[in-house]
């Protein structure tokens, strides 16, 4: 290929042409200067990088994160304890009531105390559907409030809702495999109740401000 000055631009875009361009530059001052400038830009560019010490920056970030963690921790601790306690109380109550029901002293072929009847299951599922509808409605109202702010309280609320959602989905998938299990249904109801209360609390707080 006969390389000409007008081919230089194309050679800069197509690396395969660069050897020809360099060859041509040996006899052409203008192209030599252009080629030198092209590669020299890349050579000097890293020197433009700014570096300076900021010994206070990480401690400031760590302090803020620690404060946020602290603000979030007691809230999530309280509700978890509460949820577990409520689930236990309800499970024990169901067990005691079923165990001491007249005529239930002899073990049945299936342990009625641990399982729901078709009728009860229907009621439980209706009440679950009502919870879900109410939660969906509350979520739609609370979402803009949750997105609007990044204060520690809102962050804690967001985290709590995330944890609740993941626990609900976990329990739900277990319930789907064992719909008649009273303990699981109770646990699910407690979690729904907790989510509903949390969303109500967020909306009430938003109204105050």
């Amino acid at each position: 290929m006969t390389f000409d000055c007008k081919d230089l631009e194309r050679a800069l875009a197509v690396p395969e042409l660069l050897p020809d361009a360099r060859e041509h530059a040996k006899v052409c001052d203008a192209c030599r200067r252009e080629l030198w400038l092209w590669s020299e830009m890349s050579n000097v560019a890293p020197g433009l990088r700014q570096e300076w010490d900021t010994p206070d920056l990480w401690p400031k970030i760590r302090e803020t994160l620690a404060a946020q963690q602290k603000a979030a921790r007691p809230r999530s601790f309280d509700w978890r304890i509460l949820a577990v306690a409520a689930a236990l109380v309800m499970a024990v109550s169901v067990f005691v009531v079923m165990r001491w029901r007249p005529g239930s002293s002899a073990p049945a072929a299936r342990q009625d105390s641990d399982f729901l009847t078709e009728q009860t299951l229907k009621e439980v599922e209706q009440s679950e559907a009502a919870y879900r509808a109410s939660i969906d409605k509350l979520s739609r109202l609370a979402q803009p409030k949750l997105n609007a702010s990044d204060n520690p309280e809102t962050i804690a609320d967001r985290e709590k809702l995330l944890v609740l959602d993941s626990e609900i989905s976990e329990v739900r998938s277990t319930v789907d495999r064992n719909r008649f299990n009273a303990r699981l249904q109770t646990e699910l109801a407690v979690l729904y109740r907790e989510k509903q209360d949390t969303l109500k609390e967020i909306l009430q707080r938003a109204q105050k401000y």
């Binding site: 631009e9 000097v44 433009l48």
Partner: protein
């Protein structure tokens, strides 16, 4: 754990391990992420904002957002592009808040070691080219990212990153040639 120690063992745990540990509230893991990326982040933020205090604010805000967002990141995604995307957004926000123009001209506070005439001219010329071209030039030539990384950070195709770099260098070459003649 002191930062210097963290910096020394940055490669001991990979990005996925670090973000997983950060998700669990392990601040020392998060400090490793900081040690790996903070220097480059400050430089980019300074390039965009033209002021060290603003750059530090943007980096701080970015790390707070990264920590909060750690729970949402997918493990199959790369950590670095996500981190730098958050940084760029924080810089735009900081720029707006301070009523500066985001990606301000680069004439303030030249680098301490900057003494070569070409380097001075290049810094000046960079302030005059198209902002998108400038950003690609900065990330590729100054910060040393690969085209695949630049593309992921700016959410553009890799081919566009290459094209914009070429166009940036063409513009710069023209400006530098004009200033020299």
């Amino acid at each position: 754990m002191p930062l210097a120690m963290a910096a020394g063992r940055v490669k001991a745990r990979n990005d996925a391990d670090l973000i997983l540990a950060s998700k669990r509230g392990d601040l020392s893991a998060f400090e490793e992420i900081y040690a790996t990326h903070a220097g480059r982040m400050k430089s980019i933020a300074f390039h965009m904002l033209g002021d060290r205090a603003d750059a530090e604010d943007a980096v701080q805000e970015a790390f707070l957002k990264i920590y909060r967002g750690a729970g949402a990141i997918q493990f199959d995604s790369h950590l670095a592009p996500w981190i730098y995307r958050i940084l760029l957004n924080c810089c735009y926000d900081t720029g707006r808040k301070r009523r500066h123009q985001a990606e301000a001209p680069l004439t303030v506070e030249p680098a301490a070691q900057e003494n070569a005439p070409l380097q001075v001219a290049l810094r000046h010329a960079l302030g005059r080219i198209h902002p998108q071209h400038r950003m690609v030039f900065w990330l590729f030539e100054v910060e040393g990212f690969r085209h695949s990384e630049v593309a992921a950070i700016l959410e553009i195709p890799e081919g566009t990153s290459k094209k914009w770099l070429f166009e940036a260098k063409q513009e710069l070459k023209r400006l530098l040639t004009e200033s020299r003649s």
